[in-house]
């Protein structure tokens, strides 16, 4: 009896799910308000044939290339990070590359597909944490100041690497009291994603690299027709940030002690989007068009433009092969072009039994040869400076546009309480998007909350 009725329920649920059309799509896609992780769990395009890499392992030398140094004999270390199967394949290949350099170091890979940060904090509190692992802003905040991570500065020299081999703008999040605690394994940023066919159909000239914010606004207005919106943006701090940076503004002061996102620049940037959303009605939230995030709205051709990052590429390649799109740099603001950068790193447990081998693994994985090998699978953009002009980009203009933004972007990092600052920005924007509040009033309220949070001990 019970079993039949349960079957019935499952059937009903399936029917309902089917009725809701594209709803399943919405759930698998990252929510727009979430910070896109540098390597959002997205399927890599070429992981089926990752061995195609032409890069001779370990034999290359130059800035950013790893030089072998002595480690503990017969070391056995563990490496852990989040990631779906595609991401896991990327790291299994990377560990194989590492083992060509260090054949006698045994690396056990322990992927944690969900709730990685919570699990790692619990493991760390119980002294059971892996030797090397992904470090993001949340983990750095928890571990960095409490001495749970190994400083990598000494090992940098031994491996012939230096901080300036990486995009230096990425390092502050992994730095505490002048020491570096994790190596940026890749980075993510935003570009202008658009559908060229919509521009042709509306008789609007396609965007170019020297577009300004005014051009964007005008084009969005002309492209808005019927159920199609010109531009898609959620009330999201990350997508909003570049429009503030390019006016010279920021969320906080340089020491992360005071929130500044109610500055005249911030009001101006917010007003810009509010006009598009409420006056021109050329800007849609993803929920306005029934999508989970703006990438999905582009995929379903509900909007002509949005600001999204590299995670769009495999997403579209997987489920929306027929959508023709282009990614170019963001338009310029009053003080030139800017962008926001996201990164995750690889750090070492301070309590590891094999500090040298673990540091070698972290440094190798973050080094140029490993990142360039991963680049060629299309999985992530390399955080090593010299890799941004890699020949691979010649055939991949979309990725190339994003790589160039890496050079001008600013890191999404506002100190230990940064997550609460970001949250306050997002809430202020949401009030404006809803028309509940004027930009200045909404931002003032947000700054009050953020200042309280930053003062909290």
């Amino acid at each position: 009896m019970k079993q039949t009725s349960l079957t019935l329920i499952i059937l009903v649920a399936l029917v309902l799910a089917a009725c809701s059309g594209g709803a399943t799509q919405t759930q698998t896609a990252p929510k727009a308000t979430e910070v896109p992780k540098a390597a959002q769990p997205v399927p890599a395009q070429a992981t089926t044939a990752p061995a195609q890499s032409q890069q001779p392992a370990a034999s290359a030398s130059g800035p950013g290339f790893f030089k072998k140094f002595d480690v503990e004999p017969n070391a056995q270390i563990t490496f852990s990070g989040w990631g779906d199967e595609a991401e896991q394949a990327v790291w299994r290949d990377a560990i194989a590359r590492f083992n060509k350099v260090y054949p006698d170091v045994k690396v056990t890979y322990q992927p944690v597909p969900a709730d990685f940060q919570t699990k790692l904090k619990a493991q760390m509190a119980a002294n059971q944490a892996p030797d090397t692992f992904y470090v993001d802003g949340e983990l750095m905040t928890a571990f960095g100041a409490t001495g749970k991570l190994l400083a990598l500065d000494d090992y940098l020299g031994q491996s012939g690497l230096q901080k300036s081999d990486w995009l230096e703008s990425l390092l502050p999040v992994f730095t505490n009291a002048g020491k570096l605690y994790a190596i940026p394994k890749d980075f993510g940023t935003l570009g202008l994603v658009y559908l060229p066919d919509m521009f042709t159909a509306a008789g609007v000239k396609e965007p170019t690299a020297d577009w300004t914010m005014d051009d964007l606004k005008n084009a969005a207005k002309q492209l808005t027709k019927g159920r199609v919106y010109g531009f898609c943006m959620a009330p999201d701090w990350a997508r909003f940030a570049p429009s503030l940076f390019q006016l010279g503004g920021d969320f906080t002061d340089a020491n992360f002690t005071k929130a500044t996102f109610n500055s005249p620049e911030a009001v101006q940037a917010t007003q810009y989007w509010a006009d598009m959303k409420l006056k021109d009605k050329s800007l849609a939230s993803p929920s306005d068009v029934g999508s989970g995030w703006c990438g999905e709205a582009i995929a379903k051709q509900q909007v002509a433009m949005t600001w999204e990052g590299g995670w769009m590429i495999p997403f579209l390649a997987k489920d929306f092969k027929d959508v023709k799109y282009k990614i170019i740099p963001l338009p310029k603001g009053a003080k030139g072009v800017s962008d926001i950068l996201f990164t995750n790193g690889i750090g070492v447990n301070a309590a590891t039994k094999f500090p040298k081998a673990s540091a070698a693994l972290a440094l190798y994985l973050g080094s140029r040869e490993n990142q360039e090998a991963i680049l060629q699978t299309g999985f992530a953009l390399p955080s090593t400076k010299a890799s941004l002009d890699h020949p691979w980009f010649k055939d991949h203009p979309n990725e190339a546009a994003l790589a160039q933004m890496g050079k001008v972007g600013k890191l999404a990092y506002w100190g230990a309480q940064g997550a609460k600052v970001q949250d306050a920005v997002a809430k202020s924007l949401e009030k404006v998007w809803l028309g509940q509040s004027e930009p200045k009033a909404a931002l003032d309220a947000g700054v009050d909350q953020a200042n309280k949070d930053m003062a909290a001990k």
Binding site: A17, Q27, T118, K121, A125, T141, G290, Q417, A419
Partner: protein
């Protein structure tokens, strides 16, 4: 007499049989007892200590006195979460209790296919809340079934993003009469559409659990009471209000108390369906405690989280006490 009593008392430990029985009882109790002592009582005491300290999980706790309590009572998010959950409890508790009684009475009546309906009604309660939440996310989706159904029903496009709509009930009602609520006065807005969507789901899943309790209580009411009532000319609604409901009073108390405690502790649905958003309108105290304790935004603040947990516990205790006082007073008269 007195000497005999003393001998009996001391005799307990000397009497081998009695002692053996007691030890056996404790032996059988021990698995649960040890787990409770270590993982509930022990941790509870530790949490009391932590609530007076600053603790980031990794460095030793540092004494802070009552500062955590002062801070949590002044924390805008904590007050917001209490406000949300107060509305939640205020609406969910009476609705689900009434619904549970109604379903129990229906299923207690001699109707065909009673067993089938019992199973179907009860199924949501035995399904995992994670699974139910996932299904309801689809239903509440902008392209979801709820909007589809409403569109068919009202024959016009309904495009509400149920779980992303922060507008409050009072705000919407005020809006119908052309009123607006100033942006910073969130406490006047009432429960948001998103929160009400979670309420509806929770009523759907929890009411059947309480229905079972009422069903059991209904079957406990002896037939002769109804027989006597019918001799006195009491039937139908009159009998239900004057005989059935008063006899259900102890169970109603139990259900209301359990429901209040449960609603104040709303966690998994809020985490899965909205993560506290939009605009903190579905933020619940337990969700906030979880976020603070594990450092989901900023460094872990286990001490502050513990103090919030005890404030929440005190609030639940006070409500339970008041409810008990009012409802039980009535019970004793019968």
């Amino acid at each position: 007499m007195a000497a005999q009593a003393t001998r009996q008392r001391t005799g307990f430990w000397q009497n081998e049989k009695a002692r053996g029985e007691a030890l056996t009882a404790y032996l059988f109790l021990s698995p649960y007892l040890i787990i409770t002592l270590v993982f509930t009582v022990g941790l509870l005491i530790y949490a009391v200590y932590l609530s007076f300290t600053r603790f980031d999980l990794f460095t030793p706790p540092e004494w802070r006195g009552i500062n955590n309590y002062i801070e949590s009572l002044g924390d805008a998010r904590f007050l917001r979460s209490l406000y949300n959950v107060a509305w939640y409890s205020l609406i969910v508790t009476p609705v689900q209790t009434l619904l549970a009684i109604l379903m129990a009475v229906l299923l207690n009546a001699p109707i065909a296919g009673k067993r089938f309906f019992r199973t179907v009604f009860y199924a949501p309660s035995v399904t995992s809340s994670v699974v139910i939440s996932m299904i309801f996310i689809w239903l509440y989706n902008r392209n979801g079934f709820i909007n589809f159904g409403l569109s068919q029903l009202l024959s016009r496009d309904v495009t509400v993003s149920w779980l992303q709509e922060p507008r409050g009930l009072i705000e919407i009602i005020a809006g119908l009469f052309g009123g607006t609520i100033p942006a910073d006065q969130w406490w006047l807005r009432g429960p948001s559409v998103a929160l009400m969507a979670i309420m509806a789901m929770n009523i759907f899943t929890t009411a059947p659990t309480f229905m079972i309790m009422f069903l059991a209580a209904l079957q406990d009411i002896p037939g002769y009471v109804y027989e006597a009532a019918s001799l006195d000319g009491s039937y139908g609604a009159h009998r239900f209000v004057n005989i059935t409901l008063p006899l259900l009073r102890p169970v109603i108390l139990l259900v209301i108390v359990l429901s209040t405690i449960g609603t104040f502790q709303l966690f998994d649905q809020a985490l899965l369906m909205t993560a506290g958003g939009p605009l903190d309108t579905t933020l619940t105290p337990t969700l906030l405690i979880y976020n603070e304790a594990l450092g989901k935004a900023g460094p872990p603040r286990m001490g502050l989280a513990s103090s919030m947990a005890f404030v929440l516990g005190a609030i639940i205790f006070v409500f339970t006490f008041i409810q008990r006082h009012y409802i039980e007073r009535g019970t004793e008269q019968i």
